[in-house]
């Protein structure tokens, strides 16, 4: 069976919701030769397993992924699920693994920052406030490093992550922190835009108060 046929089968199983195929889907995804496709379809399989509450198998599959964006994403989603059902200790341990996976050397700085921002949001949702802020600090540092990239695309995308973090803080009514992150944005156009957004959120908060 070639990769295209394996991918078609993984997609078919995931869409069919056939729970008898739970064990087959991971083996099938793992046997995909192309590394990028393998990680992508393992992520699909892992999401399906989490949806079916088979988190141990999902976690095992995530650990078998290559050091990629998708690995960090998969670990974060398993940890999210565990946090949602109250397995907090295990969830935090897997969030830490997701954080570690987000710093893989093969990733662009904006990808690292984006992953860390998503992990921080999850930690915040689980009320791990201090840990979330620690991860956000790392996300901000990665994004600032990315802004210094000689590639205008990487630099702009890194500014984009900083803008997203600043706006997220504003939505959480953390206006001072939002402004502080916005101040760090290197891309002037992006900085001005996010400042206007923060100002709008700030006005809304004042009106409600």
């Amino acid at each position: 069976m070639n990769d295209a046929e394996k991918i078609a089968q993984v997609e078919e199983i995931v869409q069919s919701q056939n729970s008898e195929k739970i064990f087959e889907v991971v083996n099938l995804a793992l046997s995909i030769q192309d590394e990028e496709d393998r990680d992508l379809y393992l992520l699909d399989a892992i999401r399906w397993l989490v949806k079916n509450r088979i988190w141990q198998k999902a976690y095992g599959a995530a650990q078998l992924m290559s050091d990629s964006y998708e690995k960090s994403q998969a670990l974060q989603e398993v940890a999210d699920y565990l946090a949602s059902i109250g397995h907090l200790a295990k969830a935090f341990s897997i969030f830490a693994e997701a954080e570690k996976a987000s710093t893989a050397g093969s990733l662009a700085e904006w990808q690292k920052a984006e992953l860390l921002h998503n992990i921080a949001k999850s930690l915040r949702r689980t009320k791990a406030v201090f840990k979330a802020d620690e991860v956000w600090e790392k996300a901000i540092t990665a994004a600032q490093k990315g802004e210094e990239s000689p590639s205008s695309q990487d630099s702009y995308d890194s500014s984009g992550v900083l803008a997203e973090i600043a706006e997220y803080f504003a939505t959480e009514e953390r206006i001072e922190e939002a402004l502080s992150v916005a101040q760090k944005i290197k891309n002037i156009g992006k900085k001005e835009k996010v400042r206007r957004q923060i100002s709008a959120y700030s006005q809304q908060i004042k009106q409600i108060a």
Partner: protein, 85 residues
């Protein structure tokens, strides 16, 4: 407005640098995906996207993407975010 010049269609080639083919290679934010008018040498691949616009090339001008798989998409000229953006 000069109606003759505004009817001239200009085709742009836009570039997105990619180091992979998975969705995670694209940074998608509320403005969409950033593309540039110049090729990006530091990536494994450059995704080429052709787009057509009419009239003067000023900030905010919108080009229609003509790639069959992306038909209906648009690209907005936003030099305030950087040269060739």
């Amino acid at each position: 407005m000069n109606s003759e010049s505004s009817e001239i269609k200009i085709t742009l080639t836009l570039y997105r640098g990619l180091n992979g083919t998975n969705p995670s290679a694209f940074r998608v934010d509320q403005d969409g995906v950033s593309v540039f008018e110049n090729s990006l040498p530091d990536y494994k691949f450059n995704l080429l996207i052709r787009a057509v616009y009419q009239g003067e090339k000023v900030a905010g001008v919108v080009a229609q993407i003509v790639e069959p798989m992306l038909k209906g998409g648009i690209a907005e000229y936003t030099p305030q975010f950087g040269a060739g953006h």
